[in-house]
């Protein structure tokens, strides 16, 4: 067994950080890929992030109510050895056309 850590993804709109509102799974619990993982709040919206993979949640890196910077560790899973060592990010549901209409300048 090995561990695999996922970072807070870029949520778009030029946002640099997010507040964890509620974990939707518990440490030690098995979660399916794409099942609800965590709910986060930015200055502009609230977003539910799906799990990037199936596995057992080893530990959270941030508690509910705490602020996390984009790219900082969010959650670590326990995975089978052959899945370890892959760098990944939590997938974000994109709605490109409409999201672009509301996005801030990248700089």
């Amino acid at each position: 067994m090995a561990e695999r850590t996922f970072d807070l993804p870029d949520l778009g709109e030029g946002l640099q950080e997010a507040t964890v509102l509620e974990w939707l799974v518990a440490e030690g619990e098995h979660v399916e890929r794409n099942a609800p993982l965590v709910e986060v709040e930015t200055t502009k919206s609230a977003v539910e992030l799906p799990s990037p993979q199936s596995g057992v949640v080893a530990r959270f890196h941030v508690a509910e109510g705490e602020v996390l910077e984009v790219g900082a560790p969010l959650v670590t899973f326990t995975v089978e050895d052959e899945q370890a060592g892959i760098v990944g990010t939590v997938p974000v549901e994109e709605a490109p056309r409409r999201r672009v209409r509301l996005s801030l300048p990248e700089d």
């Binding site: 709109e13 509102l21 509620e22 939707l24 794409n34 609800p36 709910e39 709040e41 200055t43 502009k44 919206s45 609230a46 977003v47 539910e48 799906p50 549901e93 709605a95 056309r97 409409r98 999201r99 672009v100 209409r101 509301l102 996005s103 801030l104 300048p105």
Partner: protein
């Protein structure tokens, strides 16, 4: 009038109606609602209201009222061949959904509305002030207004049709809130959301079951698991014989 709507295939789709200055995708997809409905075995129809997202955006205030926006929803239902649906609206989308019930009660099976009380927000904070804050960065709304942070972020966002939003605010404000419902209704509000002032009275007028989410504000109510845990069983409940 072109109204854009995303159709997420699945049995018995729920019509999801977003609020002011948002889009169907921001309100219902990013917050996990479409996924939660899919897990519950339901599809979703997710329109962008006129003036918003990928739908047409007239700049005339007379083009906006709860009833006119509700007529757009009827057209979307017709286009998708859906005779009768469960409907969920949030914030301004709640007023549009209630107008839909008034307009075509036979088309709505059950209704969940959220993020509203008895106070029409545009009129309450002043249409002229809202419009000025939309158009001009040097104008600030009363800092207590729950609309202030929304308008501040909108001003910086390229691509948003601020004139359409200004017209929408003006048009909606001159119409009375449709505070009645003839179908089974649930009202969900955040405990920390000032927009929902009068929610208990609103629930009484609507004959609605009231659900209050602790610590949630106008934004974070939308993504709350507790909201989904309240609404999904309500939509899954047996349909009362009328």
């Amino acid at each position: 009038m072109h109204i854009h709507a995303e159709h997420h295939p699945g049995p018995d789709p729920v019509l999801l109606v977003h609020g002011f200055a948002s889009t169907g995708a921001m309100t219902w997809e990013a917050t996990g609602w479409v996924r939660a409905l899919a897990e519950a075995g339901r599809g979703a129809i997710v329109p962008d209201l006129r003036g918003h997202g990928a739908s047409d955006a007239p700049h005339d205030p007379d083009a906006y009222s709860p009833e006119l926006l509700a007529r757009d929803l009827l057209a979307v239902l017709d286009e998708h061949g859906v005779e009768r649906v469960d409907v969920m609206g949030y914030s301004m989308g709640s007023w549009v959904s209630l107008a839909l019930v008034a307009l075509a009660p036979s088309r709505v099976r059950r209704l969940v509305v959220g993020g509203v009380g008895t106070v029409e927000q545009f009129g309450h904070w002043g249409v002229a002030a809202v419009q000025a804050a939309l158009r001009d960065a040097s104008t600030e709304l009363d800092a207590d207004s729950p609309l202030a942070p929304l308008l501040a972020s909108l001003r910086q966002a390229p691509g948003v049709d601020r004139e359409a939003l200004a017209a929408c605010a003006a048009g909606m404000a001159v119409h009375p809130l449709p505070l009645s419902s003839s179908v089974p209704t649930m009202l969900v509000v955040g405990e920390a959301d000032p927009v929902t002032e009068g929610a208990e009275d609103a629930a009484r007028l609507l004959g609605a079951q009231l659900v209050v989410l602790p610590r949630r504000n106008h934004v974070t109510t939308l993504s709350a698991r507790a909201f989904k845990q309240a609404a999904l069983p309500f939509f899954g409940a047996p349909i009362p014989v009328s």
